[in-house]
Symmetry: C2
Subunit: 415 residues, 2 copies
Amino acid sequence: MVTTSNSSSNGQPALRFGIIGVGNAGGGVLNMMRDEPKVEVVAAADIRPQALEAFQRDFGGRTYDSVEGICRAPDVDVVWIATPNHFHCPHTVLAAEHGKHIVLEKPMALSLDEASLMVETADKHGVKLLSGHTRAFDPPVQTMWRIIRSGEVGAIRAMNVMSFTDWMLRPRMPEEVDVERGGGVAFRQAPHQIDSLRFLGGGLIRSVRGTMGIWMEGRSGAPGYYTAYLEFEDGTPATIVYNAYGYFLANELLPWEMEAGAQAENRARVRNGINTGTWDQARAKDEMRTASMQGQRNALEGGGAPSGPPRQRFQSDLGLLLVTCERGLLRQSPNGIYVYNDDGLREEPIEVKEGGGDPTIEEAYNGIVLGEPIFHDGRWGMATLEVQLGLMRSARERREVLLEHQVPVPSDLAH
Amino acid sequence: MVTTSNSSSNGQPALRFGIIGVGNAGGGVLNMMRDEPKVEVVAAADIRPQALEAFQRDFGGRTYDSVEGICRAPDVDVVWIATPNHFHCPHTVLAAEHGKHIVLEKPMALSLDEASLMVETADKHGVKLLSGHTRAFDPPVQTMWRIIRSGEVGAIRAMNVMSFTDWMLRPRMPEEVDVERGGGVAFRQAPHQIDSLRFLGGGLIRSVRGTMGIWMEGRSGAPGYYTAYLEFEDGTPATIVYNAYGYFLANELLPWEMEAGAQAENRARVRNGINTGTWDQARAKDEMRTASMQGQRNALEGGGAPSGPPRQRFQSDLGLLLVTCERGLLRQSPNGIYVYNDDGLREEPIEVKEGGGDPTIEEAYNGIVLGEPIFHDGRWGMATLEVQLGLMRSARERREVLLEHQVPVPSDLAH
């Protein structure tokens, strides 16, 4: 339990966050936290003075130019680590040693050794470690999970998910496209699919067989493609596909999302700029950060503002997820989830909240302030990382890789 | 070379077919042959008198109540074997021993031993064996192949294909849903996907890891689901998915094909009839056969008659095929193939012929009458069967299966 001087609207103390790394991802987090009465952002750390200035101007918290600094701040209950992936381990260890609870962005770390050290250090210092912020937390996957639990369509028998995005065409920091520093889609994007499949399928993946691909001249440092076959302990199969090169987008398969065509030419221009080195990515990234802090979407992501009431967006980094069940099938719909069952087809709507309610922040609050068990803890994150690393190993060694560090979804999990 | 008394319009002799098995598949073949001036259907064999009567009434050829009988007919150059899968081997051996050339429907056989015997027997008797009639022969896959060869989008780097059909809800003969007799989708439908991927990817698959599923009460004799990861010798990955239980159909992902909803309820009614045993399948199958001979489509397949000029239909038993290339992506479009390339998106139209031009019949004619090499020969068919059997073995043994009987696409193949 955390004791603070402030109180949130429900009478419980607000959870006081320090943000480590106020980049693009951190900017998005800050917007969510601003809308969330249960939390307060009291400080931020970054090595870039401009990022800290922008933070101070827009959010008004204290700033630190080092991780040590923010970890020593007595009014920070929990740090949100949004630094490049190769810093996740050292920053987690540092925060734990200073008694701070930790929320980690995906991927948890770059190796199982790092992940083990992080879990052990958090345990040793009695702090909570939440490894999350994947699409598994979001309403579509959560709603699918509830429908499965209801028994309406029987048990899950297979899952197939395909993501086709323009991830490689968005402005990128060097480490995002350098596999040595945890760059590329197998490190950075696979957690969305793997976490979601593990959550729906019970958590325990037995083996992985897959490969990765790099084939864009201007992005030759890290894979922009992967595909794999996963099999759960209980025999349920799953396939995952991710193509980040932005020729075709999966939402072209959803009539309510967008039309093919015009955007393909925009993407072709960007791709050409990357391959010929004529695109100022650093500047584009800065513009994206600013837009992100101001709550705008990257225009390249397509879709634009939907007309009518707010609705659940298609989750392009999860992709088109088809959950085959004993007596039906689930997939995302314009306003929620399509439930194909023995009567035909119905749509389960998802209520879209106007602000707040971010599930990772919720889980952190419930775990740290209310003392509830954390589901997406370090061991859960390590198991997802093991699948990612298993995929990379399978690609290198051209063979199936058996897994050893999987943990189940708690049987008493309530949502 | 075949010598006959009749001549086709191009001055070459017509190829004289005997059809073994005038069931549903055979009925479709007969329609194609009627429109094809290069071939002549001179005889049919079946064990069902009604089927032979219908054949005689509609096509006017001679009839036989045994395979031996039609194989002894001197004016039959080639037999088209459309019998149940567990008869493919004995009927092929019999035909070869009588010096008849052979066209086989998919799957080639039920085991590699059978396939070997068929190849050896055909070789020994100097007859040609064509193992085909999959979607790999059809214009969409052929057009993709030509685009790849043109170099416009670079080499193939990955392929992902997903078929979601109502195959299990169509009227079925007992052997079609009995795995012991080659029933279920891993035997009967997988050749469409595997043949197409092998054709596009060069032919040589190194390994397969996958599984199958059976979970519909009224169809418990054979799998209605499979999914697998395939890897080619050159490292190119592919995933295949087939769900035949008809809750969701893949063409719902193609705005120009159909709307979700209404048809899902029709399918729910049929499924309920199958599960409760209240649907007269034999009668439905007979009606389907009659409709097939009369050139009508099964209404359950959806889509209906397109408006405007004839166009290339979505190939539901191949499914949604996404061919990821070095510099682009290919997939089926309303009128041909979408080519996503470095300039954006264009559509490569496919000219739809009004009749004739069936690619399997073409290949048989060119091979048998004109003496050209047959690409889809017994060894090609055996290699595709090996992938199917490898998938089944991988499912049983829960491990990756390495393949040994793969053959390449001829490097001088012209299309």
